[in-house]
């Protein structure tokens, strides 16, 4: 069957075809993941394996699927990608495209465009995004890293925190102050992680993998390192935030965890009545999460409606993940406390091979990162309902 891209059924058809291809690809490529476990990485997998999966997905045109936005069904294809890779535990959730694709596509000059985009979508290079600092999380105006103009280029200094995958990234997308402290004069840069003065400190998280600190010690950047316009990083970040993904990958994680809970309950006699009821409630909320994510994807990009919808999807999905982890561990009792990293051997008598305990520790950060849910709720109330904005200093 072919469906013309102008037809109403096109998105449905395109998503169906792509999602099937993805499921097949991911099941095959992840079959040997168990031989490549690395608990110190967020993906749970070692870097050579991750790069191999990335390269294969890139060669098959999956990483750049649905880009740019104008491609018919583009956002829906990208959402299908986000969902599937998360549901399969594939090391494709945080790729150069998913992390920095919007910023590079929207703000890169011709030269950068030509260098980065094909390599990003081809799965040839890895990236990290380094925005946060100790004293600047959701409130990025407070950041203190500086980039001082010198000899036509810049000298970058500062320490970035909460960076995913810096230890294996080829490039870093970062933001530094190019004006006085407290002003909005900030500039976005693309930094070669192999440049002299770049140092990565790996800091273990509560769940065993490391989040990284990136230290920039007077790193000399060429003029071509500027991404977008000097002094405009604040607007660029806001635009990137507005283009934030639907959060569909949260729902992929949720699907994986719920399927695990379902298997566990079925294998233990169908579960007690309270656990069964709780499980059904989570399944119900999973469908609600999918509806919210789809609503967020369909809103007019840049509209206040879209901003509110994206926040709703994020809040709902990240809190759902925490509730799934709680119900799964509580339903499994003692066996639910036995923890194993992803892809590690299953320690008997763990429920779900130790995954429930892993989920319980892992899902703490979802409600904090990418704009804490408290801020998201502010956004929903203000952008979605027009409630008055409290003055922020």
């Amino acid at each position: 069957m072919t469906v013309d891209e102008g037809q109403p059924g096109y998105a449905r058809h395109a998503v169906e075809v792509f999602a099937e291809e993805l499921d097949e690809f991911l099941a095959a490529v992840m079959a040997e993941a168990g031989e490549h476990a690395d608990p110190a990485d967020l993906t749970g997998l070692d870097e050579p394996f991750e790069r191999r999966v990335l390269g294969t997905a890139g060669t098959r045109g999956m990483l750049g699927i649905g880009l740019p936005d104008e491609v018919p069904a583009g956002p829906w294809l990208r959402a299908a990608f986000d969902f599937a890779v998360a549901a399969h535990d594939a090391p494709l959730v945080d790729t150069a495209v998913t992390l920095a694709g919007f910023s590079v596509a929207a703000f890169a000059n011709e030269e950068q465009h030509a260098f980065f985009l094909p390599r990003m979508t081809g799965g040839e290079l890895t990236m990290c995004v380094a925005y946060s600092e100790r004293e600047a999380g959701s409130d990025l105006r407070a950041l203190s890293a500086t980039a001082v103009e010198e000899g036509g280029g810049y000298v970058l200094s500062g320490v970035k925190t909460l960076v995913t995958g810096a230890h294996k990234a080829d490039w870093c997308c970062t933001v530094a102050r190019t004006g006085p402290l407290g002003s909005a004069a900030m500039t976005m840069f693309l930094v070669d992680m192999a440049a002299p003065g770049v140092r990565v400190v790996r800091r273990p998280t509560m769940n065993g993998w490391t989040l990284d600190e990136v230290h920039f010690d007077a790193v000399r950047l060429p003029p071509g390192a500027v991404l977008g316009e000097p002094g405009r990083a604040w607007r660029q970040l806001a635009a990137a935030l507005r283009a934030e993904r639907s959060g569909m990958f949260h729902l992929g994680f949720a699907r994986h965890a719920l399927d695990g809970l379902r298997r566990h309950l079925r294998e233990t006699g169908g579960g007690d009545p309270v656990s069964r009821d709780a499980f059904a409630a989570l399944e119900v909320d999973f469908t609600a999460g999918v509806r919210l994510a789809c609503r967020a994807l369909s809103a007019d990009r840049g509209s206040s409606d879209a901003v509110a919808q994206a926040s709703m999807a994020k809040v709902f999905a990240t809190e759902l993940l925490q509730r799934i982890a709680q119900e799964a561990t509580e339903a499994a009792g003692h066996q639910g406390m036995i923890h194993a990293p992803l892809f590690a051997p299953e320690p008997a008598p763990a429920a779900a091979g130790g995954r429930f305990a892993w989920e319980y520790l892992e899902r703490v950060h979802g409600t904090i990162g990418a704009g804490a849910n408290e801020l998201q709720r502010d956004t929903i109330a203000q952008a979605g309902l027009g409630l008055p904005t409290a003055r922020r200093k």
């Binding site: 998105a11 449905r12 998503v15 169906e16 999602a19 499921d23 829906w76 299908a80 969902f83 549901a87 399969h88 639907s246 569909m248 729902l251 699907r255 399927d259 379902r262 309950l265 079925r266 233990t268 006699g269 169908g270 579960g271 007690d272 009545p273 069964r276 009821d277 499980f279 059904a280 409630a281 399944e283 119900v284 909320d285 469908t287 609600a288 999918v290 509806r291 919210l292 994510a293 789809c294 609503r295 994807l297 926040s311 709703m312 809040v315 709902f316 408290e374 998201q376 709720r377 502010d378 956004t379 929903i380 109330a381 979605g384 309902l385 027009g386 409630l387 008055p388 904005t389 409290a390």
Partner: protein, 373 residues
């Protein structure tokens, strides 16, 4: 793995011309108060007009199901009592699915036109929607059937001309169309918090001709369940409308009511409650129209209706409760519309199965029967 395909949300269809204008004065606490005191508990003149103008598409117009859903959402927001859900949607779909050509001619046509008023009873005094929750018993006799027992919790039944009732007959269930004037039928109004004119209808040795059976004897259960599934979607639309009405009322209040010189809505504690209300309403509404689109496309519903009810009942209820909390003491007065939405959503909770029941339907489907007791 359970597959999920992200797809664009479904846009609600427009309302029929004239519908919106007819609800101009609603929510109208005074009018609602007046209707609540007297059977059948709804504005019969408005209802006749609505049917006369064809505002509610007949259940057999599958591609117009979304219009029915949209109209129900609007009525929920208006908090106007009508027999739409029980008398029109549930009855209409039950006749459509369980009935044969004769039943369609004799009953579905007059139901849709408003020539006769129908009310539909599926459950007994225990209010269970499981197969053993039917307490009306039908026994065959020489001329036809004899009905004994009661159907309960039938909204706006007091002015019905015909009762569509589900009865146990041997091992199966049979749907009957019973004239309310038949000997042995007595109706008693129940003072429910929803003020939806619910009745208990007792049937004491009611003798019926064989022609009173709708469709085939003993085979009604699965067919009526298909009608229940569609009605649940419309019911959830009604709840979403009511929750949205309560949310809008709340937003207006917190923007305009000042405390210590600032609007209430500037407070984060208030904003976050409002944010959760909007999230709930949005998720429920999108789920409603996604379910309606399945019906329109003729796709199997599976557990869709149960998921929807289990989603909308608790979340819409929470929205209406939050609306009261944010409205403060002002909101509990009967001349303020908040209680109309609060009552309406709560009244829908057990009707056609509560959230616990529908979660059990879902867990049975996904987990199989429990063996742990």
């Amino acid at each position: 793995m359970t597959s999920v395909r992200p797809l664009p949300p479904v846009s609600p269809p427009p309302l029929p011309p004239g519908f919106e204008e007819s609800l101009r004065d609603w929510p109208d606490p005074a009018a609602a108060e007046a209707l609540a005191g007297v059977a059948p508990g709804y504005d019969t003149a408005w209802w006749r007009t609505a049917l006369g103008r064809g505002w509610f598409p007949s259940p057999d117009r599958r591609s117009d199901f979304g219009v029915l859903v949209r109209a129900a959402e609007r009525l929920g927001a208006a908090a106007m009592p009508t027999p739409l859900l029980n008398g029109f949607v549930l009855g209409g779909f039950a006749l459509l699915f369980a009935g044969d050509a004769r039943a369609h001619r004799e009953h579905l046509a007059p139901l849709v036109s408003g020539e006769r008023r129908y009310a539909t009873g599926l459950t007994g005094r225990e209010g269970s929607y499981a197969p053993d929750g039917t307490h009306l018993v039908a026994r065959p006799n020489a001329d036809g059937w004899v009905l004994d027992g009661a159907v309960c919790f039938v909204p706006h039944a007091a002015d019905a001309d015909v009762l569509l009732v589900l009865a146990r007959s041997g091992d199966g269930h049979t749907l009957f169309a019973v004239d309310t004037a038949a000997v042995g039928v007595s109706t008693r109004l129940l003072p429910t918090l929803g003020r939806d004119g619910q009745c208990e209808i007792a049937m004491n040795a009611v003798r019926l001709p064989a022609a009173a059976v709708v469709g085939a004897p003993g085979e009604a259960w699965p067919l009526v369940q298909s009608a229940v599934d569609r009605t649940l979607i419309v019911q959830c639309a009604d709840m979403v409308g009511a929750a949205d009405g309560a949310l809008r009322h709340t937003v207006e209040h917190v923007k305009t009511r000042h405390q210590w010189g600032l609007p209430l809505g500037v407070l984060q504690s208030v904003q976050h409650r409002c944010a959760d209300m909007l999230t709930d309403v949005t998720a429920c509404r999108d789920a409603v129209y996604a379910a309606a689109a399945l019906v329109e496309a003729g796709e199997p519903l599976g557990t869709t209706a149960s998921v929807l009810k289990a989603l909308c009942a608790p979340r819409c209820r929470a929205v209406s409760a939050a609306a009261h909390q944010l409205a403060g003491g002002e909101g509990i007065h009967a001349d303020v519309p908040l209680h109309l939405w609060y009552r309406r959503i709560k009244a829908s909770e057990p009707m056609l199965g509560g959230p616990r029941f529908h979660r059990s339907v879902l867990s049975d489907a996904l987990l199989g029967p429990s063996t742990t007791g």
